[in-house]
């Protein structure tokens, strides 16, 4: 670690060699699952296991996943960049000493039995941090899943699946949220560059991880699930810096108790802890997701689409009802819809029957064929008052969903205006998958692309207000 030109967390994400202490050849053990993920690759992990070297460590020796198992870390003949410790909590401190003697500076503590489990655990955790710092060692965890890097296929977790590769980097305080996100991502074409479960955050915390993500070339959007920050101001300062480089979406759950001190001013009475988090997130320019679905939708949009760089988006639909729902939600969220100019309306008149609604949302009417839908889409792409487009398609018999999906993808490539889409009611079919696969976030209900577009609008406002656009 700390080699010149390298980020201090380099070895947690890009080690050349990993030792797994507590590796096991018995199915059902955590040390087995980690070895399996590292050597063979988790389910859904294209290309197989980790690109670097893996050294299992187990007092019994022998072979684990066809790799020679060392009885002690110190017996490994080569350099080890990263240690993954999955032994029972009582043995962790001794193993850390062995790692220190081996010169290892990056350690992931998978083991539980620390501050999450009573006063003995707390004391053990404190001791682990003290020892680590004494040796110039950094700790991730304990009580965590560790790291997935989809580029070099490092996977220190015992999760069953790995997420598909892509531009999102995620950090989560909860391991269960991590595994749920992995499940969901493989269904929804939400690709990840890095995945970190930070557990108890005894040493490295969210602030450290997002600072790493900010400089990681594979990462285009940073997503956070958190219940509490270790140091509020520290987190805020890091967040502020990171947001100036990349968009950040935060799902902050749980509220800590309002200070017991009876507040003697109005302001004191109104300022609860969640309000402080909310203020910090807003002021840093990050985007707060209130639900898991919003975390997914906002992250997908921000990772795959450019920001909205003006005031006004257009909703294009061949379906009246869903367009009205979308417009209502836009209004609720304060997402401004473009007021179409006479010129734009004139152009649309030229390709639509006279009964079209002459407004935004642009309803090209239920009998629209592909030619009409794409002609209007082309007009909107070229309209200067339109800065982002939500394409809504209601399934009907005169327009093939696959054709319209291909057309939307092709036409979106001709503009820097962002796209979000809904094929209303269509779930897991080739047409909607085609949109997702090509980076256009598609959801089966019309309100979700509107929310996703709001996230892109928020990012655009952030950049415009700071002259970064």
């Amino acid at each position: 670690m700390d080699r010149p030109g390298r980020h201090p967390l380099h070895d947690f994400f890009q080690p050349e060699s990993v030792a797994v202490i507590g590796a096991s050849s018995k199915p059902g053990k955590v040390g087995y699952a980690i070895m399996s993920n590292l050597v063979l690759g988790a389910e859904g992990q294209l290309g197989g296991g980790f690109r670097g070297k893996v050294y299992p460590v187990n007092p019994a020796g022998g072979e684990i996943f066809r790799h020679r198992a060392y009885r002690k870390v110190g017996d490994i003949p080569d350099r080890v960049d990263l240690a993954v410790i999955a032994v029972p909590a009582a043995g962790v401190l001794d193993v850390m000493e062995e790692c220190a003697a081996k010169g290892i500076k990056a350690v992931i503590l998978i083991s539980s039995g620390f501050s999450e489990s009573g006063s003995d655990g707390k004391a053990r955790e404190r001791l682990a941090v003290e020892r680590a710092h004494g040796h110039g060692m950094r700790l991730l965890g304990p009580n965590c899943l560790g790291v997935i890097n989809t580029t070099n296929r490092l996977n220190t977790t015992f999760a069953k699946k790995a997420p598909p590769r892509g531009p999102i980097s995620f950090v989560s305080q909860s391991g269960a949220i991590c595994t749920s996100v992995i499940e969901y991502s493989s269904e929804e074409y939400m690709g990840f560059a890095n995945f970190v479960s930070i557990g108890n955050k005894c040493d490295l915390d969210d602030a450290d991880i997002i600072e790493y993500y900010a400089q990681d070339p594979e990462t285009r959007c940073i997503s956070i699930y958190m219940e509490s920050a270790k140091g509020g101001r520290r987190f805020y300062d890091a967040l502020r810096k990171v947001v100036s480089r990349k968009p950040v979406v935060i799902l902050k759950a749980g509220r800590t108790a309002i200070g017991a001190k009876a507040a003697s001013s109005h302001t004191g009475a109104l300022a609860g802890s969640d309000i402080a988090y909310d203020a910090a997130i807003r002021e840093a320019g990050a985007i707060r997701a209130r639900t898991m679905l919003e975390l997914f939708d906002f992250s997908r949009a921000l990772a795959y689409q450019p920001p909205v760089m003006g005031d006004g988006i257009a909703i294009l639909s061949n379906a009246g009802g869903p367009a009205v729902i979308a417009a209502d939600v836009a209004q609720d969220l304060g997402l401004p819809l473009s007021r179409l100019t006479d010129e734009t309306i004139g152009k649309i008149d030229g390709v639509c029957p006279p009964t079209w609604n002459h407004g935004n949302p642009v309803d090209v009417i239920g009998d629209a064929d592909l030619a009409r839908y794409t002609a209007v889409l082309d007009i909107l792409i070229n309209a200067p008052e339109v800065h982002g487009i939500i394409t809504i398609v209601g399934p009907q018999a005169v327009m093939d969903l696959g054709d319209v999906a291909r057309a939307i993808v092709e036409m979106s490539g001709t503009t820097s205006k962002p796209f979000c889409a809904s094929m209303v009611g269509v779930v897991s079919q080739a047409s909607e998958n085609y949109l997702d696969e090509h980076g256009i976030p598609e959801m089966e209900v019309p309100e979700r692309p509107v929310r996703a577009m709001k996230a892109l609008y928020h990012r655009g406002l952030y950049l415009r207000r700071r002259g970064l656009g």
Binding site: Y236, G268, L270, A271, A276, E283
Partner: protein
């Protein structure tokens, strides 16, 4: 605005501390805000009945009378606010009634005098600050007066704020149409609100001893914006609020 003078505010806070107090009285609080560069309504501190009468003449009727005591947190609850006093007789009677009421309800309260203040009408806004244990000093802006208690229509940021933070805070207020001049309400100069928010943010950075602050109301009038009432609570001397 007149620009800020941090030392003036610090002197007032140091003097209050020397007396072992954790709250500034109304007069001190107004002076601290004034030193931060905030526009204040016209007011005179009067230590006696005679001085109150003279002050009322000087300010011009109608006037407001408020108790000035470092021990009174909620002035109205002890009969410490009288509004719409329109002549010398009103002022004299109000003074006698206020002294009697405060002495009855808070016998131990130290009374510095009364504030005689011009009667300002308009839209009530609030600016406040509190200290969050995790994030440190917070700044609040929103609809003041009765609205802050009922609707909690306010927006928070961490101190210090930038110009666009102040503008976003205003945008987040649901009742913003009111201070934007809807239905004949006085229209606020938003640039002036921004300047005031920035002045408070900067002032708080220079006064780490302030634990909580309420400027309520900050009044939007036809002639501009002025701070009308203020409360300043000091934190523990050894634990200044982190920023």
């Amino acid at each position: 605005m007149n620009g800020s003078d941090a030392r003036g505010g610090s002197d007032i806070i140091r003097a209050a501390r020397a007396e072992g107090r954790s709250m500034l009285d109304l007069w001190e609080a107004r002076r601290v805000l004034s030193f931060m560069g905030l526009p204040m309504d016209r007011a005179v501190l009067a230590g006696s009945r005679e001085a109150a009468l003279k002050a009322a003449e000087q300010i011009g009727y109608p006037v407001v009378m408020k108790i000035v005591s470092p021990d009174v947190v909620h002035k109205t609850e002890v009969g410490g606010v009288k509004i719409n006093l329109s002549c010398g007789k009103d002022v004299g009677e109000a003074f006698d009634a206020m002294m009697a009421s405060v002495r009855l309800k808070m016998p131990t309260a130290r009374i510095k005098g009364v504030l005689i203040e011009e009667m300002v009408r308009g839209t009530e806004l609030i600016i406040g600050s509190s200290c969050d244990p995790q994030f440190g000093r917070m700044l609040m802006f929103g609809m003041g007066g009765i609205f802050v208690e009922i609707y909690k229509d306010v927006s928070f940021r961490l101190v210090p704020i930038a110009d666009f933070d102040a503008r976003e805070m205003m945008e987040e207020i649901k009742g913003k149409a009111i201070f934007e001049g809807a239905r004949g309400y006085p229209k606020a100069d938003k640039d002036q609100i921004v300047r005031i928010l920035l002045a408070v943010s900067e002032g708080l950075m220079k006064q780490p001893d302030i634990e909580e602050l309420d400027i309520n109301p900050l009044m939007v009038t036809e002639k501009g914006i002025v701070a009308v009432d203020a409360r300043v609570i000091l934190g523990e001397a050894k634990k200044p609020c982190p920023v």
